[in-house]
Symmetry: D2
């Protein structure tokens, strides 16, 4: 079927390629003309204005937005006046689900359908397919099924779950209608919250392995340093690239994130090409905020979020307060950083 | 080659089956005669006393212990006097790596080799193979390579890591000599610490999804209850069995642990067959303790550990202290549990 | 000066008593007539309808609301139509500071002033005085200074801070104009967030002390139980009522919350009169939510919040997910609770 | 009575001054002669060798060690051969309680008594008195009561706990016999663990207050930055020195640590004289380790410990792992630090 795609960055462009390969007709637009031209070369129909983009789509139109969350409202303000009743807007980016609810209500007042799609898969999605978490009206979601099916990884992407017999379900294909407007991005939000936690678990564990040799280091013996009581138990020089490769086969903690970690450590065993300033793109925050509203304890997901904040220096003032208190009650003077 | 196996529980028995299938000769012993007989039927050589077990092995003997961590020292006390210089003991259970160092030193004084193997794979290992993290002397580990190779999943168990060219390494086969005595169990310990963190991340996220309908519930409006400010944002009835199945394909958080979760939710969508009292088997504790010795921050791994403690009621007294303080300063009276 | 007080619960009633003692004229109202009568006996002017209440106040009126946060909007809807331009409303309860901003804007449209006051002190405030965190217009706050001064503890409530010379400041008296509308409740919100953290720190530490005798207990020796490696180090029977009393004098951790804890443990050493279900009244949640918006890491404040959620059973489903996973990969069966 | 003091640093010297003022005879030694001379000027009997120190004490001698934890064993090796059966050694420093148990057993084999004293109070102890947590044999502790009473703050240091009638107890004086050897340092260890948690709670809360103005800042709008959704709610410029001074009077979170914080913020409102590298001196680590052995959940105490580790850069490798993963799945490139 025909799909219009607005936003041809890393994600949008790859998705168009995947759709074109599956013989869907893609009309594309991006504010950067070169991005459009690149996809024309892949078989997409390029357009260079939103007006032209809309004109090239047959009603009822299906327009997929793959733009930064902060740019969605502006794009909708441009787009909606050009659309007709019965047309469909799909927000496939990382929007906050509460915005979906608001936008869906606004679109509905103009008889335009609004579908939110949480899209996971990253740069590998071109080959592996995308995991799609969909929210919106049932009939509209069903209408878009051919698109979702082409983007999703398909049933062979994972071994079957024993005993599963749900013929009507599309979850095994890699896409799912999760509920009404916002449900797709809600599920994606939590997906990313979990992702933060899993990533942090690997990161912390690898840091413990990396420091298994602390018993070999000479430590300061002053009142500001806690001596290591049993240096004989910390004499290991562990090979992290080999261990992460090892765990990929047969261990309980095998995962795609581990595959990526093994790959990164293979080329840069000490990760010297990174500074360790870790961004967060909102979903982790929103997941914790939702958990608080729901009174659900999420010590792991919040710890993962706060680790990222701290990696960017945001704990600095807290730390100074601690040093000031220690100076106050004990006369303790801060040690300088290791050279 | 020939291997002796002591301890024919879930793990030990399956490992023997896997070895026998790979045409290794297995001499087996368990204090429960029926466990021995079961494996005789699978092609193993059964023995019914430790003496007989040792007698049936050709020197230099390779004896693999697969017994509970708490039972290893007793078994060694029985076994070592029956062995000869040059024989090899392999502890494949969940021993604390510090015990390996002690036991290895004791064994060495009798010219017996000691190898520690962290074994991951669980009940699925019979088919999937076991991920083996090995510590000990290099030559001894190499001597045992045929056994490790038969137990391990093999190179096809995971897609190749792009660019990897380490022909001498066995990590791609699923086993690895990690370092001297204790290194195998140290790596396994951290593996399990990570496992706790990953499991907790999924668990917390699923709890957030499950409570996405709190806006539909009528809540108390008293001074002891925080009202939900925006019930309209928590109106989703999410289908956890479908969502976990969905995430198995193409998402960033795909993993074997997720596969197991999807499978559990398929047969018991509300997990009513569980009480939620979560045991911990030591490695999570030891990982956090190692992190503290190394001064490595592990907020996620510790949160995962403490969640398990709390699930067993261990926070109860802390909670009472909080209630007592609240009563003291604010006259607050505890609410009773929901009926 | 004259003050009207609406809401004569624990907090409101005590505040009126304190004001009356300081020779301020208090006009009071509560929907429960008996509460009004009780304060009439203390020297307050009782009223039995909001209309009568307003009529008894001289313009410009100063009306202090001390009602549950959830009841403020309803009370304002009744009250505001009865007021005149220039009158002042003070919300002294536990409102969310974002509501202050909204309500202040609404009141301003009717030329009514709106002041938010975070009030700390609990049931002890009658004698100790109340710590007041105030937000609103500068002139209006200054107009109310006699009221704030009478409610606050006064300068003698704490030893002077060495070197402090800020004659214009009222902080030493125990009340402070923190900023524009909402600033008072923002500061109070964070105050309570800190309170949760401090309370949790004591609670956890006391739990560690209480269990210093675990080495004396016989523990199970099965694969689901981690054995205590060094029972000889956990042989202490510590006397918590005595230790908390001790810490009140000269220790670094002396505080009013510790005083309350010592008092609670004196009368109920095992805290058997509590079930350990700990409510939270919103501020802890809002503090963490604000921290997330600000990208400030708050692992302690969030841990304290989540401990409260967990104390009320909210981690139950997470825990079941963990048990289900453990069953999936290891065949582990949950242990039943200790009898 | 007579007491010998070895170790005349900040703590030891102040304690001698306090004892001399209370008319106790103090024989003092320090490896730095000037430290001895300083105390001679205060009325202590100075000695310049351990031999001379011991010779100046009357049997049964009472020798108080106030040296760094790492120096205790060396000092004992010198001291014990010079002592006689019936003499008493008191370790008043920050030793690990497990060392007390070992040292007590060794001392006992020579009929020397060993007492461990956890000493809280810091540099303020000279005036305020010291809170003393004591472990050891009952008779020996009673023999030392005059010394403990002189060092402790005394009953007037805190208001009485209502209803308390325990005439035999010394807790109200500020010292307590907590139990057998190690009990004093065990209680002090947990005291410090709690201290870390309380300090961290204040520090985090103050960081949230400090950033209440983030809505005024211009933020980046790129895919690596989460936009602040409601800048209008973060427009406050809060005065931390005033707020901490305020909270000292009448609030629920008043404490000595808050007094110190207010004092530090008074002289350095932005704490620019600190780098924020926070040391830990062992007790926080040991408290968490004890909690793990006891299966007591301590999410707050551990978060406080890990914040300190992170303040010293120890999370750096973890953070790099996260960045590497993000690059792997999403092609995300790290943002550079704010200039």
């Amino acid at each position: 079927m025909q799909l219009g795609m607005i936003g041809l960055g890393r994600m949008g462009a790859n998705m168009v390629c995947r759709l074109v390969k599956a013989d869907h007709e893609c009309v594309v637009y991006d504010r950067t003309p070169q991005a459009v031209k690149n996809l024309q070369a892949q078989g997409a129909i390029g357009t260079f204005s939103v007006e032209d983009f809309v004109a090239r789509l047959a009603a009822p139109r299906a327009v997929w937005l793959m733009v930064p969350a902060a740019a969605v409202d502006d794009m909708l303000a441009t787009l909606i006046p050009l659309l007709q009743p019965g047309d469909i807007i799909i927000d496939g980016g990382n929007s906050y689900y509460r915005d979906d609810i608001r936008r869906g209500t606004e679109a509905k007042s103009k008889q335009i359908h609004y579908v939110d799609v949480g899209t996971s898969g990253g740069v590998a999605g071109l080959d592996r397919g995308y995991c799609l978490m969909v929210g919106g009206e049932k009939e509209v979601v069903q209408h878009l099924a051919p698109i979702f099916a082409a983007l999703a990884p398909g049933i062979d992407a994972a071994p079957p779950t024993a005993g599963r017999k749900k013929p009507g379900s599309t979850a095994e294909q890699g896409y799912l209608h999760c509920g009404p407007q916002g449900a797709g991005h809600f599920v994606k939000m939590v997906h990313n919250g979990i992702e933060y936690g899993i990533m942090g678990a690997y990161a912390e564990g690898l840091n413990v392995l990396r420091n298994a040799n602390v018993g070999k280091q000479k430590s300061d013996s002053d009142a500001e340093t806690t001596p290591l009581r049993n240096p004989e138990f910390y004499q290991y020089e562990l090979d992290l690239p080999e261990i992460t490769e090892l765990w990929r086969r047969g261990s309980v903690i095998g995962s795609w994130l581990l595959d990526l970690t093994a790959s990164a450590l293979l080329t840069d065993p000490k990760l010297e090409s990174y500074a360790g300033r870790v961004s967060d793109s909102g979903e982790g925050r929103w997941t914790v905020a939702a958990a608080i509203d729901e009174a659900v304890p999420v010590p792991i997901l919040s710890a993962a979020l706060f680790e990222r904040f701290s990696s960017r220096g945001e704990a600095g003032f807290s730390d100074k307060v601690l040093s000031a208190m220690r100076h106050g009650f004990g006369g303790h003077v801060e040690k300088t950083a290791k050279q």
